[in-house]
């Protein structure tokens, strides 16, 4: 377990302070906050790379606040991957092992094993500059994982990737976390990323922790306007995926079964953007595969658009235009049908 107690760090312009966090062993923990909130500095303070003003950092019951970084067994992967440009991929991955003076054969074996796991075996002879962003990312992960750290810090690891690679790397990270079982602290400014990966999320704002909790908790019970701003625009559900009819997936989210497009089985989460939901008075028969009856439970006006919460249960937050809203004559307690395409849902 990692415990951060009352940490205070000088960011130049402002202070990161009153940071109290407990992160369980093997947890995938997300630190979520806007750019410039001091997320990277917080990571570096945990790793011992940035001086702290006050407070303590504990790992598995030993205090490491005064320990130098090379003795903490904490790995870090920066946003730009920071591969050593003067070494080959193999040299990068073996860096930590060579420092520890492992026998040559053992280094070779370990490097090959980890390269296999992250899928960079074919790149070992290359120089980092010749790799794509996704490949560099994987090499950076291999380089740190081969040293078997107790904690892995990821600094916006996906933000420099194009959308497609990003999605693939999300799966890679999830898979790695499952296989290696290392504790991960992952910093991001992207709520969707936080929800897709994090078991728990800490929201950081203005140098302070605004809220800590499971993604759904952050979403359903935001503790402040700031957190709500990050969370409001998303429908997120936890459910159980199984084979549906016709080979497509079916996700049970407690009461209703959603038709979705996914290869995943078992416990999954899915998200749905409010603007992708159509509200009608009658059920629709269409290419949209999901159509359910529910009760309007909340209405929030936002200028030209209206957020309508429809309870089936669970709650679905829908975004419609004011014109549609008026035409449908919606008010709380009214029964409506909601419709959305299977492809509009993101399952993870």
């Amino acid at each position: 377990m990692i415990a951060i107690k009352n940490l205070k760090v000088d960011l130049g312009d402002f202070l990161l302070q009153n940071i109290d966090l407990e992160i369980n062993s093997g947890e995938y923990f997300i630190i979520l906050g806007p750019t410039g909130a001091g997320k990277t500095v917080l990571l570096e303070a945990i790793a011992g790379l940035y001086p702290v003003l006050e407070g303590e950092v504990w790992i598995d019951g030993r205090e490491v606040t005064r320990l130098s970084p090379e003795k903490r067994r904490i790995g870090i992967v920066y946003q730009d991957y920071s591969l050593f440009p003067h070494l080959s991929v193999e040299g990068n991955i073996a860096f930590g092992l060579r420092l520890r003076k492992y026998p040559k054969a053992s280094i070779k074996e370990k490097v090959n094993a980890i390269a296999e796991i992250v899928g960079v075996t074919h790149l070992l002879e290359r120089k980092p500059q010749t790799l794509s962003g996704g490949e560099q990312q994987k090499v950076a992960l291999a380089r740190v994982l081969v040293t078997e750290p107790e904690v892995l810090l990821l600094d916006e690891p996906l933000s420099a990737l194009d959308p497609e690679t990003k999605e693939r790397m999300q799966s890679t990270l999830k898979e790695l976390h499952r296989r290696v079982g290392v504790t991960i602290i992952h910093v991001t400014h992207d709520f969707e990323e936080a929800v897709a990966l994090g078991e728990r999320v800490a929201v950081l704002n203005n140098g302070c922790i605004a809220q800590v909790g499971a993604p759904e908790e952050i979403l359903r019970q935001p503790s402040s306007e700031f957190v709500a701003h990050f969370a409001l625009s998303r429908n997120i559900f936890t459910g159980k995926a199984e084979e549906g009819e016709d080979g497509h997936a079916c996700v049970d989210v407690g009461g209703i079964k959603l038709r979705a497009i996914t290869e995943l089985k078992g416990k999954v989460r899915l998200s749905l953007r409010p603007e992708d939901i159509i509200i009608s008075k009658e059920p629709l028969h269409s290419t949209a595969r999901n159509c359910f009856e529910g009760v309007v439970s909340d209405i929030a006006h936002r200028g030209a658009v209206v957020y309508v919460t429809v309870n089936l249960p669970p709650d679905f937050i829908c975004l419609i235009t004011r014109q549609s809203f008026e035409e449908l004559g919606l008010r709380e307690g009214v029964k409506v049908w909601i419709t959305f395409k299977a492809s509009a849902m993101h399952v993870f």
């Binding site: 011992g48 130098s68 870090i76 930590g96 420092l99 040293t147």
Partner: protein, 273 residues
């Protein structure tokens, strides 16, 4: 296919700027070239065989090399600190490091003598361990270090600045001590700047005249007495006039150019322009 740009009259400014540039280049190189080509290769060769000349050149090369090695040992750590640490008065300190370049060299020689002369503090300390700086190779080295170390420090500092500090941080988390991180990451990545700074330091040291003149005019060197090349040139000119000083001047210029240009070429080899 040869590329032929659509012809446009070159603008007046370009013409004038090129002319002014040519003037300055001529001003720098015409004297050097004229001096070098004014003697026949035979005369140059005979001059080189003159014992006074070749021992002078060997002394110069040797002392400048020692100075550069000392500079690497003392200056590179300072350059690293200046590139990595922020502290109050850093800008001022960086300015101070350039001061040896702008202090009159003869004054620098006098000042050095005031500390390293055998009846002064540092001089006495070294004297007890058998090192004397007045009219000795050690004195030549000290004078060379003083006037040339800013070139190495500045260049190494710029080199370290181009090394992303995150690479060092990553090395630390991978288990490297500060020393290991320095020698395995920072130094290999900055070596080009450090090497080219060393070349400048060596060449600048070898060219020093004023400070060496004051501190170590005539020194014992491998069983003979010798003067550094710049002093030899000045002495020959003062004693025998321009004509007689010409061959040795040509030799000294040639050797400076050859060593400087070849080392610079090594430093930049393989670098994209």
């Amino acid at each position: 296919m040869t590329k032929t740009h659509v012809w446009r009259k070159p603008d007046g400014m370009s013409i004038i700027f090129v002319l002014l540039g040519v003037i300055i280049l001529l001003f720098i190189f015409a004297p050097l070239l004229k001096t070098v080509v004014s003697s026949s290769p035979g005369v140059l060769w005979n001059t080189l065989l003159d014992e006074e000349v070749y021992s002078s050149i060997l002394l110069t090369i040797y002392a400048a090399m020692i100075a550069t090695l000392v500079g690497l040992f003392l200056g590179v750590p300072l350059a690293y600190l200046l590139a990595r640490r922020q502290f109050w008065g850093k800008r001022f300190l960086e300015g101070l490091i350039d001061i040896p370049i702008v202090i009159p060299h003869s004054a620098a020689g006098v000042a050095l003598l005031f500390v390293f002369g055998s009846n002064f503090l540092a001089g006495e300390v070294f004297h007890t361990i058998g090192i004397s700086f007045f009219n000795s190779v050690a004195g030549v080295v000290i004078a060379m270090i003083f006037v040339s170390i800013p070139f190495l420090i500045d260049s190494a500092k710029e080199g370290f600045k181009t090394v992303d500090v995150r690479l060092e941080k990553v090395a630390r988390t991978l288990g490297a001590s500060p020393w290991r991180s320095f020698f395995r990451v920072s130094l290999p990545l900055a070596w080009r700047s450090i090497f080219s700074g060393s070349v400048m330091m060596w060449a600048r040291g070898a060219s020093e005249f004023g400070a060496v003149l004051i501190l170590a005019y005539y020194v014992p060197f491998f069983g003979h007495y010798a003067r550094v090349a710049p002093i030899l040139v000045a002495d020959r000119f003062a004693s025998f006039g321009l004509e007689y000083a010409q061959p040795v001047t040509a030799i000294v210029i040639l050797i400076s150019l050859i060593v400087f240009i070849s080392l610079r070429t090594i430093a930049y080899r393989g670098e994209k322009a």
